[in-house]
Symmetry: C2
Subunit: 196 residues, 2 copies
């Protein structure tokens, strides 16, 4: 997705320790048109890969919400975002998985209420980053617990050198990233398109 790649090249900053800062359009500030275009790009790519009949978008709070919302808007289906703490509104019997926190250290719990994910659902899983794949893997476990059908995984930015794709490929479902970071250091962020 060229518009995204241009933004990463122009505004992305490598902070060391594998951290790419893209706060100006993904993790602290959002560009509405760019986000909407992400939703359209995901839909186009998944459709071209044979995905159809999606009934729900699943993501995790916080930074997955905006791109997942854009996909939900484009596909005209609801978005369910996993919570990191159990709110007092969440009933017993919730689906739950843990993932190591990449940017904060420690372990992050992810929880989804059975009210909003069921065996009837055909799900696209969307997140901001595919790095080690451990957060997405936790969301996959939640979707499996619910009995829903997972049709595909989409992430806005993939860091191809962190092995996440290899972790998820055994699922045998389409994995779409809109931009791939092949390498980065203080001087250069090498980002490539995944457009067909």
């Amino acid at each position: 997705m060229q518009a995204l790649i241009d933004r990463i090249r122009n505004e992305g900053q490598y902070l060391g320790g594998g951290i790419l800062k893209v706060d100006s359009f993904l993790n602290h500030q959002l560009d509405p048109d760019l986000t909407l275009a992400m939703g359209e790009a995901f839909k186009q790519r998944f459709t071209a890969m044979g995905v159809h009949g999606v009934t729900k978008i699943v993501t995790a709070e916080v930074s997955g919400i905006a791109p997942a919302f854009a996909v939900g808007l484009t596909c005209q289906v609801p978005i369910t975002y996993a919570r990191k703490k159990r709110p007092i509104t969440m009933p017993d019997g919730y689906f739950e998985a843990e993932a190591p926190s990449h940017t904060k250290g420690g372990v992050t719990r992810l929880l989804i209420s059975p009210e909003f994910l069921s065996p009837k659902d055909r799900v696209l899983l969307i997140d901001d980053f595919l790095a080690t794949g451990k957060t997405l893997e936790a969301l996959v476990r939640i979707i499996q617990q619910s009995g829903a059908d997972l049709l595909g995984i989409g992430c806005v930015i993939e860091k191809s050198f962190e092995g996440g794709r290899a972790r998820l490929e055994p699922l045998g479902i389409p994995i779409v990233s809109l931009a791939i970071i092949e390498s980065m250091d203080r001087e250069t962020i090498t980002v490539t398109s995944t457009d067909p």
Copy 2:
């Protein structure tokens, strides 16, 4: 906003302790078209109240993001969401305020980087709930620290019996809520329209 009021009447649940559960379309699952309609309703209402020249939408993670995104999309301006923990990508000199956490207990810190809020900005502040108004008040303090101009405050659902509007009215700016809960108990949620 009638579509919102219908959803609150049909799907809202009073859980006691002042807690209204609207997880099916606002706090855990999102309805894309309803959310988009919220954005359009906010724009219409603020425009009718003389607000113009908005350059930025400000909200707080997590549940403010979707309605704020919809307003940003409708107004064609970026959205900045306050973080609750300082990410490693946030530079020194951030704007910061604290608010008591309504649903979780304790105190919530809210932080915005000066990269994404400046004296040049003309801001609409959007959040999911207006209850005691203390979270919105913390966001107001952050906007004041930044030197940006606050033009209006919008919330999806106002609980009129918790006094938040009175707390914010001294600011002398338009305060818009799309639905007002006048009272609630286990049997009845009394919700009224604010449509002009």
